[in-house]
């Protein structure tokens, strides 16, 4: 992660030669993100129900990866239990619907409860370092699912089954799709403005060197709690949408609302796309969820091992993600004029250094 400081040095060194230009990377990312989401928004117009279901899952994972990116990408905490917020959102909505309350009330309460939970959970666990934080969050998510299952919350074994909304099936599916899409867009805008704000810079400082950040006067603990709560909000909303869209789900196990593989998917998608970048989680979610769904129908038996092998390869060769790979390729030293072939050659050099760079 020395790259950040290196960039910084280059800018200050060349400050006398040329006025330091503000990086426009964020504008590119935001623009591309909006275009990608807009194109995805055309899917319901095709009228293909299975494609719609696939892309609803993809956009849902976009939201989950984007919100995990706040605590895991920007603040660099190994949060392994964000599925807890998803499950809390799903069960808040489901329990209210079972009591004939309004769906909208559920959608309002889901992020409130999950946010409060994230705050209260974050207070102790964000004091833990590194691995301990990761496993504590993982454990809390697992334990929540287990409590709901064994205490029969909502239904025997927590197996929720809701009455469908009184709407045409196709229309309601399209509405849930656009709900997830709108949520993803809002999260994209939020992440972009965050990445350029004091709060975002503080999180990056914490990720790069927590002690140095503390020494600079950043209240690191409270910034981490803030990022944790912030990452819980869209996740819980996505859980709320998921609950009424899917209608029936279990607390634990495959496809469950507290399924730990959802946590892992968020992380894998963000890491593949680029943790701490604006566009990364969206790209990662699209690639991985598409591949996952494709392989699970085309190669059912080897689908699981395939996903495992993919994770291993991504962590070896792309530990910093696709977006950073492209950035590394196109990055030009500030204030130095170079011929085009020269820039390409240097870009390729940087990329080869960048691949598989964490070995002994």
């Amino acid at each position: 992660m020395a790259k950040q400081t290196q960039d910084h040095e280059i800018v200050t060194d060349s400050a006398t030669a040329a006025a330091p230009r503000e990086s426009r990377a964020w504008l590119w990312s935001l623009g591309l993100g909006v275009v990608i989401l807009a194109v995805i928004g055309l899917v319901p117009l095709t009228g293909d129900q299975s494609a719609l279901s696939l892309w609803t899952f993809i956009v849902m994972y976009c939201v989950l990866a984007q919100s995990w990116n706040l605590i895991g990408g920007f603040a660099g905490r190994a949060a392994f239990g964000n599925v807890a917020f998803f499950g809390i959102g799903a069960y808040t909505v489901a329990l209210l619907l079972e009591r004939n309350q309004s769906y909208w009330l559920g959608l309002v309460l889901a992020p409130v409860i999950a946010g409060l939970f994230a705050f209260l959970l974050g207070l102790p666990v964000l004091r833990l370092r590194g691995h301990y934080f990761g496993i504590a969050t993982l454990g809390v998510a697992e334990a929540l699912g287990q409590v709901i299952q064994s205490k029969n919350v909502g239904a025997p074994s927590g197996e929720i089954s809701l009455t469908p909304p009184s709407l045409n099936f196709h229309i309601s599916n399209a509405l849930f799709f656009y709900g997830f899409l709108a949520l993803s867009l809002v999260t994209l805008l939020g992440t972009t403005s965050l990445s350029r704000s004091r709060f975002g810079y503080a999180l990056v400082a914490i990720r790069e060197n927590e002690q140095a950040a503390e020494a600079l006067g950043i209240a690191t603990y409270w910034y981490k709690v803030g990022a944790f709560v912030l990452s819980a909000l869209p996740t819980a909303l996505a859980g709320g949408l998921f609950a009424y869209w899917q209608l029936s789900f279990d607390p634990v196990g495959e496809g469950g609302a507290f399924d730990v593989t959802i946590s892992v998917a968020m992380i894998l998608m963000t890491v593949l796309g680029g943790a701490g970048t604006i566009l990364g989680p969206i790209l990662g979610a699209i690639i991985i969820e598409y591949l996952d769904q494709y392989t699970s129908t085309a190669f059912t038996t080897i689908h699981g091992p395939l996903l495992g092998a993919l994770i291993v390869l991504v962590t070896i060769f792309l530990p910093q993600g696709l977006v950073r790979l492209v950035q590394e390729l196109v990055r030009a030293p500030a204030g130095v004029k170079q011929s085009y072939p020269m820039r390409v050659r240097q870009g390729v050099q940087r990329v080869t250094r960048f691949l598989a760079s964490n070995g002994i």
Binding site: Y132, Q146, V314, P319
Partner: protein, 288 residues
Amino acid sequence: MAQYVVNWILLGCFYAAIGLGFSLIWGIMNIVNLAQGSLVILGAYVAYWSYSTLHLNPFLGILTAMVVLFCIGYTIQYLAINRVIRAPILVTFMMTFGLALLISNLLQAFFTGGYRAINTPYSSAGMTLLGARIPLLNVAVAAIAVVLTALLSLFLSRTRIGNAILAVGMDRDAARLMGVSLARTYALTFGIGAALAGAAGGMLAMTLQFSPIFTGQYTLFAFVIVALGGLGTPWAALAGGLLFALAEVFGPLIPGVGFGLDTAIAFAVLVLVLILRPNGLLGRPFYA
């Protein structure tokens, strides 16, 4: 009550075996090996296979599992984990999770998700003491776990290779300057850690049912055991195992808790200990 105490001690020693390899890998390489549970179950299958196909004594099955798992662990570290050893913890977390997914899904594909166990003519042998039934097989397993802990401790402190492993754990750059090969020492460490997981798997196959669906559960158990005991020494894993078993055996007796909450109890205890004693019960700054 005597029965609960017997169950507690026997389960605690078995849990120590689960935590032993995990604690070595974590203490030396600072890697939380999320594939540990998968390696345990893999070891259980190797032991099961050596019993049912090769008709070896189940206790020899533990040895077979250790040898096979050592080779697998050595290879995994050499080919994969060594390539991300300097990465931030999130990356090593992801890597080992990917390995866990790979191993447990392969197991599921080859052996299906059905429950298996080694049943021998003497599986149910036991004796009665103070009104408590003492299953002899579990006593043997617990004894092996304690012996393995002692052997690991002696190996690390008394042999050249063991000292090299400790040196790499304390300061890898200084160890390298002293002529220790990092790649090989790490591979050896992970190999030993995997072999210990294999031993735990062999014990599991003899005393309990197993299936690929338990892989995640045993990884969590290993983590809790090691976090409870602390990273300091192999003996810390034994302390952690006993403490964890204490919560598991006596936890459901607390009114209102009941059964079916193993994971929840485990993590409640973990979070409590982490808050009160962040280095675990026998935690020390370095592994020795």
